[in-house]
């Protein structure tokens, strides 16, 4: 196995709920190797999305440590986490999460601009062409179908060429045909850029395309 790009050591996540604290993740230890594709599967509420959020620095662990490319994410403040993602990570969500006031092109260009890429627009245009949306550059998210929105989200995540791609049920809101197309695109992009992919999914056939599958149950690795 290659050296791990993401490493989790006894990670726990407890969130406050109306009826008291809820233990979402309970002592997760895990290494993700460079170039690996890892599928996270498990029933609803098992904590797989939360685990992905922790890997992306979008959620703070209650205890334990998470390192990515040797950087301890649990010790970084929010701004440093944002800058880290800017250079190393691309994230795709089930609900796309495009900025509604920006066109498809502007959505894809945003992470490049934040990284001060001098050719952000040109690269964003090329990236949208890769996902087959050259004809939708200037459309706003509300003017795109679900499948198209997810393709924009994929282009946005991959445009800065991140070494880590995190995808949280990227086909969850799509029909079978669109879902399959998105998964093909996701794996193609990963292959083209030699990135590490962590994929959360309910679908066994999608998980089967990954190098390794981890089952989560009740906040623990089963």
């Amino acid at each position: 196995m290659n050296a791990p790009v993401i490493s989790l050591n006894d990670v726990r996540l407890t969130l406050a709920g109306n009826a008291g604290p809820i233990e979402i993740l309970r002592g997760i230890s895990l290494d993700v190797a460079k170039g690996e594709t890892l599928g996270l599967v498990g029933p609803s509420g098992s904590g797989k999305s939360s685990l992905l959020m922790l890997m992306g620095g979008l959620e703070a662990a209650s205890s334990g440590s998470i390192t990515a490319f040797g950087h301890n994410l649990t010790r970084m403040n929010e701004d440093n986490l944002a800058r880290f993602r800017r250079h190393h990570m691309g994230i795709v969500f089930q609900s796309f999460h495009l900025i509604p006031t920006m066109t498809a092109l502007e959505n894809v260009a945003t992470p490049l601009e934040l990284a001060h890429a001098p050719d952000a627009m040109a690269r964003a245009t090329a990236e949208l062409a890769t996902v087959g949306l050259s004809h939708r550059l200037h459309h706003y998210p509300a003017q795109l179908s679900g499948g198209e929105q997810q393709r924009v989200a994929l282009a946005r995540a991959s445009a800065p060429r991140p070494k880590i791609l995190l995808a949280d049920e990227p086909t969850g809101n799509l029909d079978t045909v669109n879902g399959a197309a998105i998964m093909d695109l996701l794996f193609t992009l990963r292959d083209q850029h030699d990135a590490t992919l962590v994929l959360v999914t309910h679908a066994p056939e999608l998980a089967a395309r990954c190098d390794r599958i981890i089952h989560l149950h009740d906040g623990q690795i089963a």
């Binding site: 939360s50 959020m53 999460h97 900025i99 006031t101 706003y140």
Partner: protein, 835 residues
């Protein structure tokens, strides 16, 4: 579905409480409250003036004359009708204490004064004692100006007077006109041999009548007018004791009501935004109701009922505030006002405010409400297009009629229909321009966003947000822009007026106006001023007053067919053998230098045109009770604004020379010479009154400033409404900002970048609102200054910069108030909630 079902659903919708309606309520309540407050204060003053009428007037009725006392006939008539007649004389003079001088307003009274009300002095001694043995009382301003102590002596004319008390309350002060200097009161008999009431002296006399209780005032007035009006008698009685103040209060109140209506219009934008945002959140509910069988009518009824209930609550809160604030602050306000005011809860202004508030609420809420009919059941499964869809035509027509009813009510109730219509047109035009500006701003933002360099991601994000759909730029520019437009217009007009008074006049204005120069004093007077090296010019001219009573043997008003200021009381008239220096004749010829024939008159061209006068017309002037009929033989240019000596009418010398009169003069001098001139001239001629033009302008500017302050307060209330709408807009966008911040953090934006981006979009929208407010205000200011005030408009940059800065700052503050949560929230909690 029946009406009952619709109402039942509306009741269920109300379970959500008022949380989505705070801004809606605040917008309506603030607008209604400000109009109710203005109306209540106006009514309080009007009632105060009515209740205290006899005290303010100083009698049940008053007969006034200019430059003369009542004739024996007139006095006899007054004594035959009144139980008591009290005479007061008023004129300007110089009070001298050793080498110190001050312009004063002298009120000479008899021992019956005051017929009504009480005068209050410090120390508390009887008035008779204070005025006995050449005593006088003075306002505190004079005591401070001349550093006087009780018992100190001053000279007025050639007589010496002793200060016995300070005047702290004068019952009939409110009916007095504008005074240049502090007031002193003394006995008329103590002015004997002072040289101040010589024939031709410029004084006003007033005779206050204490009438028997059963007196029929209208009859008495018409009797007096039929007997004496052509002799210059002016009548006032307790039915309208202070017509000037009453008119001023009414017009000011109406003007502030219009400013309040502008506030309601700004609030209306908040109402539209609040209703739209509320209904947007209800899209799924409405689509579900439609799925269950609700018709468009039912949906409209449900939400119309809800909004009406909320609107009524808003109006009620506004009315409660509008009634309570003047009533609670009444004692404090009454002590600050120079006129009597009776503070209470008055129904009429409250009802007027309720009418305005209700109409404004429906005018603004109906449009977004009517669009609920267009929501389709398919909205549950597919995002509804956010593209603006128009309501059905009956709703558009209804909105138009409600808005028209609002304007018509204001036109009728403010009693200023023309101004109201202009005002309404101005607001509609402003809204249209602001709407265009919002589009232009979005267009430019989109263009700029694609052109900017890579090094400014925060600016690009801000510009994209402004350019994109559903951004807050529209609401911010409309609400803030309209509030700023009202404030900026008042700023432009006010600054122009101040500018006229400060910078334009001193360049051409004289240093002093000099009054009461006796004929034998003209020669030595001009010698003194000519000897001063810093005096550039001295002009003297005879001064009389005359009432233009008849034109071509018809009563003047009947001939002209409308009212005109030249017919409103007495006007200055002079005589001259030759055309005064600089005279420009526009028609006719000047009389020969030694002309002694039938009286001839040269009339001001502009006013003659307004009166419809032609060469050869005969006009009759009543001068000191004597009719002089003269033929118009020339017209000439008169520029009243240059503050030199200007007369509406100039006659040939033989026509007026025999009448008792004095001369007036203007002295043009360097400011450094003013003190010296005052000492030399006033020292040599005690009866002469010198009025410093600089001090006069300062005094008028002070009065103007207090007027501007009142309108500025009204405009600030409008701006406050705009700010509340801004806060509402920012509050509505907090959720989308939090979401946007979470996504931006996910794609690598740090908090500084996001904060700067949020701040920039608020500042850009605020600056755009300010910029268009300046442009609109410049246009409105130009129209008001040019057409209403007949002055020259100059764009006031200082005021403009302040407005843009204020707009940017207000927008920034409102935007930043709702930025902390988006910045502080972790992305996962936001994005998880959306999945």
């Amino acid at each position: 579905m029946s009406l009952r079902s619709a109402l039942r659903i509306a009741g269920r919708e109300l379970r959500g409480g008022l949380s989505g309606f705070r801004i809606f309520l605040a917008c309506i309540a603030l607008g209604v409250a400000s109009i109710a407050i203005v109306g209540s204060i106006k009514t309080a003053i009007q009632n105060g003036l009515t209740q205290e009428a006899t005290t303010i007037l100083g009698g049940d009725a008053q007969a006034e004359f200019t430059y003369r006392k009542a004739s024996p006939d007139e006095l006899a008539w007054m004594h035959s009708n009144a139980e008591q007649v009290s005479e007061t004389l008023q004129f300007r003079s110089m009070a001298v204490k050793k080498n110190d001088r001050a312009l004063v307003q002298v009120k000479a009274v008899d021992d019956l004064y005051p017929l009504y009300g009480d005068i209050t002095l410090d120390p508390e001694i009887p008035l008779a004692k204070a005025l006995a043995s050449n005593g006088f009382i003075a306002e505190r301003a004079l005591v401070e100006r001349l550093s006087l102590k009780i018992g100190d002596k001053i000279t007025i004319g050639t007589n010496t007077f002793t200060l016995n008390a300070i005047l702290t309350h004068e019952p009939d002060n409110a009916s007095a006109g504008f005074a240049f200097g502090p007031k002193i009161i003394l006995l008329t008999e103590s002015l004997k041999d002072s040289g101040l009431l010589e024939p031709g002296a410029l004084f006003d006399s007033a005779y206050r009548l204490k009438l028997p209780p059963q007196t029929d005032l209208p009859n008495l007035q018409s009797d007096a007018e039929s007997r004496f009006t052509t002799t210059g008698l002016r009548w006032t009685d307790r039915r309208n004791a202070a017509p000037g103040i009453e008119r001023f209060v009414r017009r000011m109140g109406s003007f502030l009501t219009l400013v309040g209506l502008a506030g309601l219009a700004v609030g209306g934008i908040g109402v539209v935004a609040a209703v739209r945002s509320y209904l947007d959140r209800k899209t799924d509910t409405i689509a579900t109701l439609k799925t269950l069988g609700a018709t468009g009518n039912t949906i409209f009824t449900v939400y119309f009922t809800l909004i009406t209930l909320m609107g009524t609550l808003g109006v009620a809160i506004g009315l409660a505030l509008g009634a309570a604030i003047p009533a609670f602050l009444g004692p404090l306000l009454a002590s600050k006002l120079p006129v009597p005011a009776l503070f209470a809860v008055y129904p009429r202004p409250i009802l007027e405010a309720a009418l305005y508030g209700t109409l404004a609420m429906f005018a603004f809420a109906l449009w977004p409400l009517a669009r609920t009919r267009n929501i389709k059941a398919s909205g549950l499964f597919r995002a509804q297009t956010s593209k603006a869809n128009w309501p059905r035509w009956p709703y558009i027509v209804a909105t138009f009629f409600i808005a028209a009813a609002l304007v018509a009510s204001a036109a009728f109730l403010t009693d200023m229909p023309t101004l109201t219509l202009w005002f309404a047109a101005g607001i509609i035009a402003s809204l249209f321009i602001l709407r265009l500006n919002a589009r232009l701003t979005r267009f430019l933002a989109a263009r700029l966003a694609t052109k900017l360099t890579q090094s400014r991601p925060a600016l690009r994000l801000a510009l994209r947000s402004i350019a994109g759909p559903g951004g807050e730029a529209n609401s911010v520019i409309l609400s803030l822009g309209l509030g700023l437009t009202v404030l900026a217009t008042i700023g432009q007009v006010d600054a122009n007026l101040q500018n006229v008074m400060r910078s334009e006049l001193p360049a051409v204005a004289p240093a002093f106006f000099v009054l009461d120069i006796q004929q034998d004093q003209i020669e030595p007077f001009t010698q003194i001023t000519a000897a001063d090296p810093e005096v550039s010019k001295t002009e003297t001219t005879p001064m009389l007053r005359g009432i233009l009573t008849r034109i071509n043997n018809l009563p003047a008003e009947d001939y002209v067919g409308h009212s005109h200021w030249t017919l409103d009381g007495d006007r200055g008239v002079t005589y001259s053998a030759t055309p005064p220096t600089g005279t420009i004749l526009t028609a006719g010829t000047w009389w020969p230098e030694n002309y002694t024939g039938e009286p001839q008159v040269s009339f001001a061209t502009e006013e003659a045109t307004e009166l419809g006068l032609k060469l050869g017309d005969m006009i009759t002037l009543n001068v000191l009770g004597r009719d002089i009929t003269a033929k118009i033989t020339s017209f000439r240019v008169v520029e009243f604004r240059d503050m030199g000596i200007n007369f509406l009418m100039v006659m040939n010398p033989a026509a007026l020379q025999a009448a008792p009169h004095t001369s007036i003069a203007t002295i043009y001098a360097e400011p450094a010479a003013e003190g010296r001139l005052l000492r030399n001239v006033a020292g040599e001629f005690p009866n002469i009154t010198m009025i410093s033009v600089r001090e006069g302008i300062a005094s008028a500017a002070k009065n103007l400033a207090s007027l501007a302050a009142a309108t500025r307060w009204g405009a600030l209330a409008t701006l406050l409404t705009g700010f509340i709408v801004l806060i509402g807009t920012a509050a509505v966008t907090e959720r989308s900002r939090t979401y946007e911040a979470a996504i931006l953090k996910t794609t690598g934006a740090d908090r500084t970048t996001i904060l700067v981006s949020f701040a920039l979009r608020s500042a850009i929208a605020g600056a755009a609102a300010g910029a268009v407010a300046i442009a609109t205000a410049a246009l409105a200011g130009w129209a008001i200054v040019t057409f209403e005030m007949e002055s020259t408009y100059t764009f006031q940059g200082g005021s403009a910069v302040a407005i843009v800065a204020l707009g940017t700052f207000a927008s920034l503050i409102a935007g930043l108030l709702y930025t902390w949560r988006p910045l502080a929230t972790r992305p996962a909690s936001v994005l998880r909630g959306q999945d």
